[in-house]
Subunit: 216 residues, 4 copies
DNA sequence: CATGAATGAGAATTCATTCAT
DNA sequence: TATGAATGAATTCTCATTCAT
């Protein structure tokens, strides 16, 4: 019924507002630094609402992660499957990971915090979802090896280099200009153009690294 | 006087114990997650001692970073200066960064946390110390360009890729074996050998990326 | 009208479910420990229903007491009036009090909680109902004294001993077997038969205590 | 050293103040009704002090019970052992139980609340202490039976009647005068003298009940 | 130099109660 | 009549920090 639909929507709206606010706050402040109060205020709901709808702080945190992680992997796989050659797929993978980071900077931060904390807050469900991402790389590499385009390489190593570079690039954004200004005081203050080209650089490097003739 | 010496020693001992404990706790729990109580306990000193010797939580945090960062830059520079060619220097730089991460995992974690937090806790003094590291890269690259060995490249880009890869490699250590087991269940459980070879791979890649003929 | 009848029935059903659930929860958790939520859940009605039908927590509590106490006094009086002699009446009184406790253990618990709390939650209406019970004892004793069977005794004293004994007997039920096992470990584990005979013991004792020749 | 003694005293003083206040508040308000805030205020210490010294609410509650229960049993046993005959011992037992209730009304209330709650808060240590009390009765009865003075009776039954009567007497104190006024409006308002004689009445009754010729 | 005692200012969590439909 | 949604006002608990010795 329309009535029920409206009701459900109302509920879902609250949950959505909470999850969005929580994502933002957890990302910027970290789990321990985040204040339930701040999340509620930012969500525009009463603090008790969070407990009513979701539960305690930890449950909220996991809900946030689950909520946003959900379709990452699916989206990534879709993007890649639209490409023909392993090289294209790998290139797309790198661009997609970077795009996801750009599109969901908060999520990226949360993920890194999790890594640093030793993955203590992720439930096993999330761990699996991480695996899926690496598996996508594995599939691409396997296909490349089969077709004689790539040398046999550890997918986790590729994933590490790609993601690591992009993450650090992403993370250093806020201090980028300061750093660059400190490094060469003569240059125009906000020329960070060199950086937005990190993605093609990474793409090129990785492809080069996988060339069969490249003896490791 | 001997007396003063003993006093100073005792004092220094306390400070050292505190800083070591704080490093550990800050690294594993993060700034907000760290408890002064826990640090004091781990240091084997009274909680008030920390305030007496060092100051409040933030001061302690910055002391920890300052304490441990200092050596880093100096050590790095020394290592590098012992090498002759820019290539060797760059190779050494990469190996050294990796070695530092291995030797001081706690520090590495703190640094990443700082990045994720938007560098809010670093005092300006610390910021400068970060610059020093990038400057070392800059010097190497400048020398390489001068000698016609490297193409002109953004030092921060190189630093990002090197450090990013190594960091992620370092961070994923705890879940490495789980991940690998999940990826290829057939393989022997603890074969992480492929990973300790990440350093030479990064070295080779970066050198290749800097070749003058490499059009970007 | 039939319609009104159905409505009233439905309404009464809700009220009944609420009062029953509330009795249970108040009895086991106490007034402060009882949660409106728990009562609603146990009653199978919405939480708001309680406020709609009965009122706030205190009103609910008093409704529970009123609801269940009413029967008690009326039932007790009926039982006793069916007996001829004061001795029989007193004996019946004791047996009835015990039976009521057995039949309505939750109510018993609530009453005791009230006593311990200094009778703060009872409204004056409830207080009167307590009086009625003691008045029943008073009437029996007065009749006995009139007929020369009992010595003049404080009805409240008799009430206290009878009810006190039976109450404690009732309350210690849950730990009875544990206690007895602890006291004589040799005996068969669940022989609590001695206890169900507390009623005749109390009856005999009280009758004896009221003998006119018994000098106090 | 004197120094340490003073320090320890200071700590103990705080603990004592807390436990005393907690006893009072728990007794009057019950576990759920008691507010940590109220306890702290009554104790004249900071709220955090309670957590620092003792722990959370439940720990405080158990500390209170343990603290006060401790020497009850010992005290009782001492009183009784000073008497010669089983009758005297039993009489003393009854008087002592009543005296303890009078001297520690708060504790008595807590105990009863515990009974009503099904002994859920008592730790096993406390349970044992309850046993000890009943064991004291058991010893008296055994001695009486041996000497041919008492008929063989369940000690728990005697304990139940004695304690039950005294408890109810104790509990009804606050409403006593109101109740009596309601029962016989003609009598002088505050003549509760008949009640303070409940102890001898109980003593007489119990002794009578245990006479060997009394067939149960 | 060192520390055990103490606390104020918050933070998480709960719960009776009301609102809107 | 009935209920799911929502919340304000506590309440428990924590933690960085200071005090007194």
């Amino acid at each position: 019924m329309a009535d029920a639909g409206i009701r459900t929507n109302k509920k879902d709206q609250s949950i959505r507002k909470i999850l969005n606010a929580a994502l933002l706050v957890f990302a910027t402040q970290g789990y321990d630094g985040a204040r339930i109060d701040a999340i509620a205020r930012k969500a525009g709901v009463n603090k008790a609402m969070i407990y009513y709808r979701i539960g305690n702080k930890r449950a909220l945190y996991q809900a946030v992660i689950h909520d946003i992680y959900q379709d990452r992997a699916a989206h990534l796989r879709r993007e890649i499957q639209s490409k023909a050659t392993p090289e294209e797929k790998l290139t797309t993978y790198i661009a997609s990971v970077a795009a996801i980071m750009d599109a969901h900077p908060h999520f990226t931060r949360i993920m890194i915090r999790e890594m640093v904390s030793g993955w203590t807050n992720f439930g096993p469900a999330i761990f699996e979802e991480v695996c899926v991402t690496v598996k996508i790389v594995q599939e691409i590499l396997d296909e490349g090896v089969e077709k004689g385009l790539f040398s046999k390489t550890e997918p986790l190593a590729i994933h590490t280099m790609v993601t690591g570079s992009l993450i650090l690039n992403h993370l250093t954004q806020p201090v980028r200009s300061q750093l660059m200004a400190a490094l060469n005081p003569s240059a125009p203050p906000s020329d960070t153009s060199g950086f937005n080209r990190l993605v093609p650089q990474v793409q090129r490097l990785v492809i080069a690294a996988l060339r069969p003739e490249a003896d490791i």
